[in-house]
Amino acid sequence: MEASVSAAVNVSILAMSVIFTVLVILIFTIKALVKLIPYEAPPPARKVSSSRPPGQDDQVAAITATLAAHMGKRPDEFRIINIQSR
């Protein structure tokens, strides 16, 4: 029994050493990878600027729908780019 327990202790020490060795190699591999290939932040997304002042979207939608009905076209076949108030 004592011999078996002693063998188990030896196996445990050996196995823990192997695990730490493998994982230390992995740590250095990861560190090398992170150093060689640093993180680059993605370019900021371009803001789509609207020429229309805020609050005009509802007006544009209403005018588009009316014009589409008047011209007999679909709303996506033309585009209103500017509204000037007098």
Partner: protein, 411 residues
């Protein structure tokens, strides 16, 4: 043929399974009902314990041919998936597809916590040998401390197939009890000041590194421990599906449908191995007791190593994340978060704990690989041709036939 009511009725009565029901079967039916109860009403790993319990129920109905040992029975076919090491690696593929190694890559030193938590495996190994198990059996029992069901099943099927059922039940039962087992040990081994330590935010990691990492792990670990390639290779393949960005359909399949289907097959197969002959033994009680020891030592090992790293880093590492080094993903990381938040509600440890948590998966797979190298037949020169001979025919006559054809062409 003359019909006699009494003789026909007698024949039907004798063909029922009641006549073959023995006390062992009745006890196992009760065990099956207990597992189903724990799964449904106590929510103990229901995805596994429910099909496992039902598999046990089916296997212990006499004359049903549903035990894993009943050649030609339905569950015997499912069991071939364990016997031939198919199902646990497929589960690992799904786990890889679900796992984000980002926190580990951002703080690779936490891999050491995943290694330290494996102390539970080896303390249990020593305990199992002390209780009279041989080294192969003790290794299969010890890996329960890795808190990794598929690895436990994989190793048990290779080193101690006769202990598969109790090992699987102990592993999954204790995994479901992680939120109960770990907190008292974590609180006992840490001071309030240590539990309050706030860790720095993790740095972002390049997507290219995340793609290269699975390949690097496969090369490093599988070259060192070839026996573990089925598990670790599949884990990394699943993660490759996730990170590559070009296999969205495979990633989705691996992390949802595939892992669900394989879980059903695996749990039913394990349940079918829970027959009275294999389960109602003193060894089962010993394994259940050793399983608790394994989880406790694994938690303690991780926390103590976390304390050492805390001291060495000048108080930058919260020792509570060490307990996540047992691989029960993501439950162990959630426990670290909860215990930390109990002391300081503004302390968020979850992402930091995910590093050692996924390191634990790799650590337990490596621990299994070490056992296979020591006690299995991996790398000891398996005669592949001999193993395949029944399927592809003996290679030598094939080679002779080829040589004859070459000679004929030459002439």
């Amino acid at each position: 043929m003359e019909f006699s009511f009494s003789s026909s009725a007698s024949k039907i009565v004798h063909s029922t399974a009641f006549t073959s029901l023995e006390s062992g079967d009745i006890i196992m039916l009760a065990v099956a009902c207990l597992l189903i109860y724990l799964a449904i009403w106590k929510k103990f790993e229901p995805l596994l314990l429910l099909p496992m319990g039902f598999g046990c129920l089916l296997a212990n109905i006499p004359m049903s041919m549903m035990a894993s040992t009943d050649t030609g029975g339905l569950l015997n076919f499912f069991y071939q998936g364990i016997k031939h090491e198919i199902l646990p690696p497929l589960i690992f593929m799904g786990v890889g597809a679900l796992t984000d190694f980002g926190p580990l890559l951002a703080n690779p030193i936490t891999l050491l916590l995943g290694a330290a938590a494996q102390i539970g495996v080896y303390m249990t190994l020593i305990g199992a040998v002390y209780l009279g198990f041989n080294m192969q059996e003790a290794s299969a029992i010890g890996i329960i401390g890795g808190a990794d069901g598929p690895t436990s099943i994989f190793l048990a099927s290779k080193l101690a197939p006769h202990l598969l059922a109790p090992i699987a039940v102990a592993a999954y039962s204790y995994m479901s009890l992680v939120p109960l087992i770990q907190p008292p040990i974590m609180k006992l081994l840490t001071t309030e000041e240590e539990r309050k330590i706030k860790m720095e935010q993790l740095k972002p990691i390049s997507q290219t590194v995340k793609i290269i990492f699975p390949v690097a792990v496969t090369i490093v670990c599988c070259l060192m421990l070839p026996g573990v390639t089925p598990l670790l290779g599949m884990l990394m393949l699943g993660n490759m599906f996730r990170e590559s960005g070009v296999t969205a359909r495979l990633h989705e399949t691996a992390e949802t449908h595939l892992i669900n289907i394989v879980t059903i097959l695996l749990a039913l197969a394990v349940g079918s191995s829970m027959t009275a002959d294999s389960f109602l033994r003193l060894e089962t009680l010993k394994i259940i007791a050793l399983g608790l020891l394994a989880f406790s030592f694994a938690t303690a090992g991780g926390v103590i190593f976390g304390k050492i790293m805390c001291k060495l880093s000048g108080g930058k590492i919260n020792p509570l994340i060490g307990s996540a080094g047992v691989s029960a993903v993501p439950m162990a990381a959630r426990v670290s978060q909860k215990v930390g938040a109990d002391t300081d509600p503004s302390n968020f440890l979850l992402m930091h704990a995910m590093g050692p948590n996924v390191a634990g998966v790799i650590g337990s797979a490596v621990a299994a690989g070490v056992f296979l190298s020591l006690f299995g037949d991996a790398g000891s020169g398996i005669d592949t041709h001999a193993a395949l001979a029944p399927i592809i025919g003996t290679p030598e006559p094939g080679m002779q036939a080829l040589a004859t054809i070459v000679e004929a062409i030459k002439k």
